[in-house]
């Protein structure tokens, strides 16, 4: 069977590679957003006990203040100090409540990561299907004796491994390079 040579299009292998690279990028997005959301939640977990301790201490202080706040005490300290102490204890309690509520809101907002992950999951599913169909087309064309020559050099979605090799590892590497450049 004569082999037909088609020169005007990228090969389906190129498109397949691009689809694979897109899926890898999306997987990277999911990993990054998950890490960010996790870090946020870890921080919330760290701060919540501090807020609760603050509110608990504030309540104990208010109780003690209630016992000590006799007419004799009121007469013995300047009125503005008395008022400021009262107001402070009230504020601590109110602000503690707001902080606690805010942490809950922050926690709930991390739900974005789950929602975006689901969307990306559906997109990846569609991409896998397209990739599979492209492979089927390639296989069928190969059976019919149609082959492709690579025209212009195919470029993928992802940068090549060679260019990735130039990437610094983190801020310390950036600082080191800038030091070398005198900045």
């Amino acid at each position: 069977m004569a082999t037909n040579v088609v020169t005007e299009h990228h090969t389906t292998a190129t498109e397949t590679r691009m689809l694979t690279e897109v899926q890898q990028e999306l997987a990277r997005v999911v990993t990054m957003t998950e890490a960010a959301a996790t870090k946020t939640l870890d921080t919330v977990d760290e701060l919540m006990p501090l807020i609760q301790t603050m509110m608990s201490d504030s309540s104990k202080l208010e109780e003690a203040w209630g016992r000590l706040n006799t007419p004799e005490l009121v007469e013995s300290i300047p009125p503005q100090v008395h008022a400021a102490l009262q107001a402070f204890m009230s504020r601590v309690h109110q602000r503690g409540l707001r902080l606690r509520d805010g942490m809950h809101e922050l926690t709930a907002a991390q739900g974005y990561q789950d929602l975006t992950g689901q969307i990306i999951g559906r997109v990846v599913g569609t991409l896998k299907l397209a990739e599979s169909h492209l492979q089927d087309i390639d296989d069928e064309l190969a059976e019919r004796g149609v082959s492709f020559t690579a025209g212009e050099e195919a470029t993928g979605f992802y940068e090549s491994e060679a260019s990735e090799a130039g990437r610094v590892a983190g801020q310390d590497d950036v600082d080191s390079l800038l030091d070398d450049l005198g900045i």
Binding site: A36, G166, R167, V168, G170, Q171, L177, L178, L181, I183
Partner: protein, 126 residues
């Protein structure tokens, strides 16, 4: 001090604004890319620029070059905050005249350190 934060992503502008406010820098304005940033810079006296690299209208590296080539803006300190982390990009930013470079994701501590370092160096050079 008047600061311009340039990034096409509004959440990132907010994050940088909040972190700068935490370290006492409060007079902050925003632009969503180099093209909207440049007229603001040319129209007002900004003391510090924080810019991303990848932006649609004018990239951060082109903004830096435009700032450095304008005699009225040339001495404005510029900090680049970007996801671009390749050595040749960092070198390009340095050659364009950036004063500091932070790779995303970054911490509040890193941002403070780099801002402090930029101004310490400027003071000692003055």
């Amino acid at each position: 001090m008047r600061i311009l934060v340039v990034d096409d992503f509004s959440t990132m502008r907010r994050i940088i604004r909040n972190l700068l406010t935490e370290i006492g820098l409060e007079n902050i304005e925003e632009a969503d890319d180099g093209q909207t940033a440049l007229p603001k810079l040319q129209g007002g006296s900004f003391d510090f620029i924080v810019t991303d690299w990848n932006m649609p209208g004018m990239t951060g590296i082109d903004l830096i070059r435009a700032v450095r080539s304008d005699p009225n803006l040339a001495h404005t300190p510029i900090l680049m905050v970007t996801a671009e982390a390749k050595r040749d990009q960092i070198v390009a930013a340095a050659e364009a005249g950036v004063n500091g470079y932070i790779v995303k994701p970054f911490t509040a501590k890193t941002l403070k350190e780099k801002v402090d370092r930029i101004f310490e160096r400027l003071e000692s050079a003055a």
